[in-house]
């Protein structure tokens, strides 16, 4: 690990905006040289592995962003709320897709450390990215190539990728969030703004070197999650029964009235360079009479243009089956 300075911003007396601005002022000057740290479960790994060695680390874990509230049917979650705390919250208990995306992630110890803001901004687990002795990585060194393409790519993405980078965005929570039409509130040098989570991340086939659209020094302060008036669920498929990232996952939010899919929203995990909103599948399903055959058709449509390499060639099929299964289980349609 390289030497760095450490600053904790924990002035709870001051307004969060003021603290945030102070942080931002430093971060803007040399973007890559300053990093925020919240729970540290991603950030510290990156530093220990020598992947990202900022000269200055700004600890935001004491910022007063730890509230969870419900306003007008919208769940508002402070960015430093831990995954464990959010999963325990009364308002989340009945939103299966949200609750399970949290409880099926990582381990209890990690969930007690890890924050909501850090979770959606976690960086890819690609082991080529996370080893600085690997010289080909377009995410770390734009233009250097991608070692994963011909390498070990079992956990890599097949949607929103091309031969330039096949890194997966590994957050489970973010997959549920895109299916819930959630938004992030941002605060940065240019002021505050609100973005759909579905627009927060940058697809690898667009620009592998950028994970997200945050400006230098911009912070996530809150999540806004409209509570669904629909049934939902999160299915996570992985080798190990617990404590593993998804090989594939499906977040489904659906309301069936008189056999017709009145509302449908789908997020896919483990397959996308971003938390994947399955708009093609949704288009097949929306307003249609729910049936297993239709679910098959929708899932097939979503994965039709998947980009695979030898290591990932099983993934479209596994993802397709994962989605069909979860559509069936959430809608309880069995024929």
């Amino acid at each position: 690990m390289h030497p760095f300075t450490y600053t904790r911003v924990d002035d709870v007396a001051a307004a969060s905006a003021a603290v945030t601005t102070d942080v931002v002022a430093r971060a803007v000057q040399t973007p890559d040289d300053v990093a925020f740290i919240a729970g540290g479960t991603t950030q510290l790994d990156l530093m220990r592995d020598g992947v990202w060695s900022p000269g200055s680390l700004v600890d935001i874990s004491r910022l007063p962003l730890t509230d969870v509230q419900v306003h007008d049917g919208v769940l508002v979650v402070g960015a430093t709320v831990t995954m464990a705390a959010l999963a325990r919250h009364a308002a989340v208990r009945d939103v299966a897709v949200l609750r399970d995306s949290l409880l099926l992630a990582a381990s209890p110890q990690l969930r007690e450390m890890a924050t909501i803001g850090g979770n959606v901004l976690q960086r890819t687990r690609c082991r080529y990215f996370r080893d600085p002795t690997v010289t080909q990585c377009n995410k770390r060194e734009p233009g250097s190539g991608c070692a994963a393409i011909e390498g070990t790519a079992r956990t890599h993405a097949v949607l929103g990728v091309d031969a330039g980078c096949i890194a997966v965005h590994a957050s489970d929570l973010a997959v549920a969030l895109v299916a819930l039409d959630a938004r992030v509130r941002l605060s940065g040098p240019g002021g505050t703004r609100t973005l759909p989570v579905a627009e927060l991340h940058v697809r690898a086939d667009q620009d592998p070197s950028r994970d997200n659209v945050l400006a230098a020094g911009e912070l996530i302060t809150h999540l806004e999650v409209p509570l669904p008036e629909a049934r939902s669920g999160y299915l996570k498929v992985r080798d190990r029964a617990s404590y593993e990232f998804a090989l594939t996952s499906a977040a489904v939010v659906a309301r069936v009235e008189d056999g017709v899919l009145e509302h449908i929203a789908i997020g896919l995990g483990g397959v996308g360079s971003v938390p994947w909103r399955a708009t093609r599948a949704e288009a097949v399903l929306r307003g249609q009479r729910a049936s297993l055959a239709l679910f098959e058709e929708a899932a097939t449509a979503e994965l039709a243009d998947a980009f695979t390499v030898p290591g990932t060639d099983f993934k479209p099929e596994l993802a397709r089956r994962t989605l069909v299964r979860q559509l069936r289980d959430v809608t309880e349609v069995t024929a």
Binding site: M1, H2, P3, G50, R125, R127, Y128, R130, D131, T133, V134, T135, Q136, A147, E150, G151, T152, R154, V237, D239, R240, A241, S242, Y243, E244, L247, F314, E317, L318, R321, T322, V324, R325
Partner: protein, 719 residues
Amino acid sequence: MTTTPTAPASTTPVIGAGITRVDGPLKVTGAVSYADDLAPRDALVGVLVGATITSGTVTLVDASDALAAPGVVAVLSHHDAPSVVRPNEASADDRAPRPPFQDPVVRFRGDYVALVVAQTREEAEHAATLVHVSYDVDEPVVDINDPRAPRETDDPAGADSVRGDLARGLAEADVVIEADFVTGDNTNNPLGLFAACAEWDGEALHMWATTQWPSNVADCLAEAWGIPREDVRVECPYLGGGFGSGLRPWPYIHAAAMAARTVGRPVRVVLSRPQMFTGVGHRPETVQHVRLGARRDGTLTAVEHTATIPVAVDDDNPENVVSGTRQGYAVEHLRADVDQVRLHVSPPGSMRAPGEAQGNFALETALDELAVELGIDPVELRMRNEAVTNPDQGDLPWSSKALDECLRRGAELIGWDERDPAPRSMREGDQLVGYGMAAVSFFYFQQPCTVRVVVRRDGTAAVHCAAMDIGTGTYTIVTQVVADRLGLEVGDVEVVLGDSSLPPSPPAGGSGLATAISNATALAVAQVLDDLGLDPRAAPGRDALAGAVGGRDDVSAEATADQPDPDQLGMSPSGAFGAKFAKVRVDADLGLVRVERLVSVIDCGQVLNERTARSQVVGGTVGGIGHALLEHTVTDLHAGPQTGRITNAHLADYLMAVNADVPDLEVEFVGGPDRLNPVGVKGVGEVGLCGVAAAIGNAVFHATGRRVRRLPITPDLLL
């Protein structure tokens, strides 16, 4: 002194009882001292720098930036490190792992090219990133199937065997089954990172190092430095798991000794997790071929089992993949053959049930295929071919064998009768249900062990031996044997282990230590009682012992338990036997395999301590589930700069079984004391792991109708 086994058999209840570990309170309160905890407080910290190429030559190690970094005291590399001799392993003629920095050659990715010594760990880690290494790069060969890899066919593992005439056996068969199997590399991954701290006092070397075999490390260090053995002391009272990775004097141990020599102060070297994947051995991948010939009634007429395993370009690793096949079943015509191919991979070593784990998977899967082909129940097939005598040792009778009972009892416990033998015939909702089984005939391994028993003036006793307790319960069982035979309370016995200055021991490995040390202890107890003028059979008790010691401080005796000679004894020394039965659920669409039940019935002779023995089987079974479904060290094979790099050298990416993968494990012991040795023990450290992968794989076949001949069995193979 060396004695032939004459000590009396045990009678009192302290043997077999599930007493809690004598070291348990120390462990759970954190009071236990691991090797690294004993390092002198003023020790400097060494951090190793690994090669970032897979094959080639170091042309320059430029340490100038590192030396200028804060806290750095020295940087060692092949340019300036002390020269040492490459030693041989204590037990065999095999070369020990090559000490580092003796030449500029890079033999695998991660091979050590430098050691940075600094005041603190953080400083050393930082400076390690500032060491600039230049290379001449050669093209590495890392793929086991690469025809360019040099192939050693002259039986380096002592594994090959020919019995009868294979062609004849095949000709006599009504049915021949033939299949190829592949098992992946696995990494031991004990939780405790390995550490070594060296301190020189003139020409004497004191070492605190993670090891499963202090005597061997001391022997090798003495040979490496050309100093008298008594001037080397290696201490390791406890270690945080080994699973075989601590059996050899790995290069990092030498690095600590070199650094301490160079800087004239104690230096401790702690490996990083990625270095634990390349620096302390691993279970090598295998490519195997099995051919079975049988009559309609299930009688085996021919068995052929061949295997290819990798070995490092400049190392030896005798890994006997076919030992279980050679002795497993009564078959007249057999050919077993293991070839090694030399690759630019980090040196493989032992990992729990080395060879046996991989070989058993292939053989017991093939037997399942044969059972299906013949329409014979798989349990019945094993029983019909039972080796009543050891076919691999001149058909000598076994010293003990209760495999038949293991099979019967296991079938009963799992409810084998409820199984519909037709594949893919049992379904509950989305879940396909399957049952599978495998048998294990674990090899016998014992090496000489010397133990000193001391009876003190107050009638209490102490036991001294260099052996390691690797978390298996050695402290506890030795305590029990002594308490039993001297008639003492458990609390009146002090056991001191893990120090090469004590009487020499074999490794805590090969499931051989419990047998060796318990018998040596029993012999030493008999000797000391004899010396005290007491009846060696009487278990005299504390007062009588104190009386016999009289005015002396203490009275002690040493005894060595030797390797028995089968021909002289007229019997074949038995290892443990076992039967594994698995019930699995496989998601019909998603290919997810979950183990619902796992039954192990084990014949390990006299159970010294029900609790620690059961723990061994439970732990082994957890490892077996990982072996079957999860664990896989993945090396990049495609040509290019990443060739030979392990892609998942990280605990988040190398998947070991977690609680959610492991059902309540059912363990039962059958059989009785082994006839061979006075205590009647057979090792139980590895039999728990063997057979689990085949039982699970066979259950997956029964559930799905899909035969997977590859480990680990992952969902993508079942789609």
